[in-house]
């Protein structure tokens, strides 16, 4: 039997359409990108940072040393390519809308700790084209370094500058590799993940554990008796750029 080229191409095209339509329809069924995690029901992790206690400790860097050591965050000499998960930022940079010519003495020229805010409504998650970053049911904005294509759209989307890109292989810049946590490769974006691997073992985040001044308080917002909730009840707190609707989970007592 002879088939004309036109007929063959037509049949091939229809077959291809038939074979791929289910996959395409599944993709557009708008299912959630992942199943919810089996964490304790209704946990919503958050952190309260008491800037006063932090500043009393002076030139302390214990939290960021602990974080960067635990997670093999490289110390890159070139500031343009630096990678950081938690660091100090001048108050006016962290809270530009609260900038004033007459700051209180306690805050004048003093830094605050900044890190990923693990927003309730994160723009970075909204823009990621591969779901390499997503919001877990326990509130953590998580990273999958296997899936990240390094497009840096999330970096553009983050209103807080919390994300860092690996411009080159980070390993040469890691002084002491911690074997039980992977390093990252060049070409992916990274940020604080609220120590989810430690939380899975029931341990607090590394920065919280390392802070001697007890300035970093971590806990479950959905538990009315938690430390974070009691601090929020008893103190006035601010968050970074709340007017953008991101609903950050890092609260600051200033």
């Amino acid at each position: 039997m002879s088939v004309s080229r036109r007929a063959f191409l037509g049949t091939a095209g229809l077959s291809a359409l038939g074979l791929t339509s289910k996959t395409a329809l599944d993709a557009f069924a708008l299912q959630p990108p992942h199943e919810p995690a089996p964490a304790p029901a209704g946990t919503r992790w958050a952190m309260v940072i008491d800037s006063k206690k932090c500043l009393e400790a002076g030139d302390c860097t214990k939290c960021l040393d602990a974080c960067h050591r635990t997670h093999n965050v490289p110390a890159i000499a070139n500031r343009a390519h630096e990678v950081k998960w938690i660091w100090k930022e001048p108050f006016e940079h962290a809270f530009p809308s609260l900038q004033t010519d007459y700051p209180p003495d306690a805050l004048r020229d003093k830094p605050v700790m900044v890190l990923c805010n693990h927003c309730d409504n994160p723009p970075c998650v909204r823009v990621c084209p591969t779901q390499a970053t997503w919001k877990r049911s326990d509130g953590i904005v998580m990273m999958d370094w296997h899936r990240c294509i390094g497009c840096r759209y999330c970096v553009a989307g983050c209103p807080y500058g919390s994300r860092s890109f690996n411009w080159s292989d980070p390993r040469p810049s890691i002084a002491q590799i911690t074997p039980d946590f992977p390093t990252r490769s060049k070409g992916v974006v990274e940020k604080c993940t609220f120590c989810e691997e430690r939380l899975a073992k029931g341990e607090p985040p590394a920065c919280v554990a390392a802070c001697q001044a007890k300035a970093l308080v971590f806990g479950n917002l959905n538990d009315p008796e938690s430390d974070v909730r009691s601090l929020l009840r008893s103190h006035f707190t601010i968050r970074r750029k709340p007017e953008l609707g991101t609903r950050p989970a890092i609260y600051y007592i200033v």
Binding site: E35, P38, N72, D169, R171, P172, T178, S185, A200
Partner: protein, 131 residues
């Protein structure tokens, strides 16, 4: 035949290229002997049967990867009922501690370079950058 020399020269090059696998392998000293990965001294059972691991350890690792990273599902129970934590460095490399004598033997033979080692740390190879 004016172009005799060009033709003969081209023929020599052609035969050289054609027989490349033979003389290159000779020169590099490669043999047909298969890989001999060094098995762990103490543990005798792995998280899955040996035949499965030989054929599909990568499938297992990929499942573990997505389970841990994307679904926080870290608990694994092997077919023979033993409990493990899903972790390349923490579980697999706890027994197969020497990557060079185990993993690399077959990978080098098969000519594959899995990029897992770009990030995941093999304890014995902390000095190197992990290939």
């Amino acid at each position: 035949m004016r172009d005799r020399h060009v033709i003969i020269a081209a023929l020599v090059v052609f035969v050289g290229l054609l027989t490349f696998p033979i003389w290159y392998a000779r020169a590099a000293g490669t043999t047909a002997r298969g890989p001999e990965p060094k098995l762990p001294a103490t543990e005798k059972t792995c998280v899955m049967p040996v035949e499965y691991m030989r054929a599909s350890h990568m499938a297992l690792l990929l499942t573990w990867r997505d389970d841990v990273v994307r679904r926080q599902d870290r608990a694994y129970v092997s077919p023979d009922g033993k409990a493990y934590t899903k972790s390349l460095t923490g579980t697999c490399l706890r027994c197969h501690a020497n990557k060079a004598e185990f993993c690399d033997r077959c990978h080098t033979y098969a000519g594959v370079t899995p990029y897992c080692w770009d990030c995941h740390v093999a304890p014995a190879s902390l000095k190197g950058s992990g290939t």
